[in-house]
């Protein structure tokens, strides 16, 4: 145990020292990048099943918010129809990405990267010129406000001022108070971004995820128009914001039943992020040989 602590201390010291000693070396991420979805593919592309919150460090407020969420809300409340992903989630969704480097014409120094995603014209600016983040009471945006510097062969990006959004597209919230740090690095023709999201409103500890892209000069980023449409008359039943009263969501056990998984594991929480949680889970609810959905 002592040797593990020693390794931990040594690791911390080396990384902290190297972060101050190594000279910042700028990396050019410009180009067209196709997203690779081998990590968390079911969650990112078809979308997550209802009531699957496993592997997320959610506090009890987030779990209750997710348990009372009704998916009808994203169509019945018209203002939600055209919203972008949050800046952190945008790196995981339909994430084909074009990156352009912004050069200051006078100094010929890079002052920013601009990224554009395929979904909903999502654009981020990542400032490299050392500017401050806006005041706390300034407006928040979907993508937030990002600044970056180079460190240990990586671009380290810090983002604040995002709007309230979602951690997972099945009602798991993400607050406007969250911030995230990204570590961008290129290896051969691959780009990897490690994302650490800290949400003091809904998480008990940071959520760490990674995403990957491959350089694709043939990629074409398109444009995307969205006009919201009132599809459901509001007010017939007085329900202008669809939601379930606590304890009345009939779909909470659906995913656990489909996959024969213990319900407690599907409700998320920090313990579900770690392998040790398997020991607490006990036996599956049924025979997984009879799986009927996304079984491969």
């Amino acid at each position: 145990m002592k040797s593990i602590n020693l390794i931990k201390m040594l690791g911390c010291t080396i990384i902290l020292m190297s972060s101050t000693i190594v000279l910042a070396q700028e990396i050019n991420f410009s180009g067209d990048w196709s997203a690779i979805y081998h990590e968390d593919a079911p969650e990112r592309i078809p979308g997550p099943p209802l009531s699957d919150f496993a592997g997320l460090p959610l506090n009890e407020a987030a779990i209750m918010r997710a348990n009372t969420w009704d998916p009808n809300r994203i169509s019945v409340v018209p203002e939600f129809q055209c919203r972008e992903h949050g800046g952190d989630y945008s790196m995981r969704g339909l994430a084909h990405m074009r990156i352009e480097r912004v050069i200051d014409p006078r100094s010929q120094q890079a002052i920013a990267f601009k990224t554009r995603m395929n979904f909903h014209n999502m654009e981020r600016t990542i400032w490299l010129d050392g500017r401050d983040h806006p005041p706390a009471d300034a407006p928040h945006t979907w993508d937030g406000f990002s600044t970056a510097h180079f460190e240990n062969g990586m671009m380290v990006v810090y983002t604040t001022h995002q709007k309230q959004s979602y951690t997972r597209r099945n009602g798991v919230p993400a607050s406007s108070e969250r911030t995230f740090t990204e570590y961008w690095y290129i290896h051969e023709n691959y780009l990897t971004v490690l994302t650490v999201v800290d949400d003091p409103v809904f998480y008990t500890e940071p959520l760490v995820r990674s995403q990957n892209w491959v350089m694709n000069p043939a990629l074409r980023i398109t444009t995307n128009n969205c006009e919201y449409v009132l599809e459901t008359p509001i007010g017939d039943d007085g329900q202008i914001v669809p939601h379930y009263l606590p304890g009345q969501n009939p779909f909470l056990t659906e995913t656990a039943e489909i996959y024969h998984l213990p319900y407690e594991g599907m409700m998320g929480g920090p313990e579900t992020m770690y392998p040790e949680f398997r020991d607490q889970l006990g036996e599956p609810l049924g025979d997984s040989r009879f799986c009927t959905l996304d079984c491969e």
Binding site: I4, I7, K8, G11, C12, I15, L16, S19, N59, E60, A61, I63, M64, R65, T68, R73, V77, E79, F80, Q81, C82, R83, E84, H120, N121, M122, H133, P135, A136, D137, A138, P139, H140, T141, W142, E151, V156, Y158, T160, K163, Q164, S175, S176, E177, T181, Y183, V196, P200, V201, P206, V208, C226, Y228, I240, V241, H243, L245, P246, Y274, P275
Partner: protein, 326 residues
Amino acid sequence: MNKLLQASKTILLATLLSASQFLLAQDNELQLLHVQGNVYMLSGAEVNVTVQIGEEGVVFVDTPDEDTVPAMINLIQELTNLPVLYVINTHLDEAHISGNAMLSRMGYRLNANLASFGPPGGAQATAIAGAAAGVTLLAHENVLNRFYLTDHNIERLDLTSTYFMDTKDFYQNGEGIVVYHMPNAHTDGDSIVYFRRSDVISAGDIFTPGQYPDIDNERGGSVQGLVEALNFLIELIVPGPMAEAGTYVVPGHGRIGDEIDVVEYRNMVYIVMQRIEALIDDGMSLRQIISARPTLDYDTEFGGFRGGPSSEEFITAIHTSLTTEM
């Protein structure tokens, strides 16, 4: 496996420490934030103050305490020295009106010597002071009624004009300004102010992101009226592409918002209202409802922050609204 896990944790800890250098500075100091067009928001005081600056002068929505007024004027003087023209109060809360007297005496020149005006005098409405200086101090008539007819501990109310219809409009600094009465929301005298060319709405305490709404049942406020007011606000707002920007909203407290921010806030009020309504229908008392924690999932975002109501106060105000005949 254990070592691998510990090593991963160590790297994560190190990267988090490294990232901490980015921590935002705490900015509680007074700042004049440009919202858009002619409109600015004074941030860092006890309340947000909306400031419209144009070729004719300065229009305020709400006023900070008198200790803050000189610093606010210093910030505005970096942009203009033109006189104060209008002060519109969104409701009767001391924190939102206490600078009226000082600003009402600044109608001729914004850069006049504040000390030369002397201390505010009298414990009654000083309509003449503002009128003599050419400043209009406006609020809904119910603000005046509540000041004279109901109990409160507000020392003085400086108004020169009230309105009693649903709206009042006027043209100042090159744009139409429309004042809408929002009945029975935070109080029964709430106004929101729409700067049409700048496309900014000053919402007062109808919209307070980051804290629960202060529903003042004693002064005619109700949760039902608040939801109606928020729905009206959402109708008035036109969002920009992809549900972002467009019309901006200056809240009574908290950060500048746009439509989706108001929608999320309305959703919170509406959902909590429906939960409490269901618990009342189940026969629960107020004490039992508070114990059931119907705001549990919103408390980490709204409960008691920035001096706003606690979850218990919010639940109690909703319960009162739902069980009292209006």
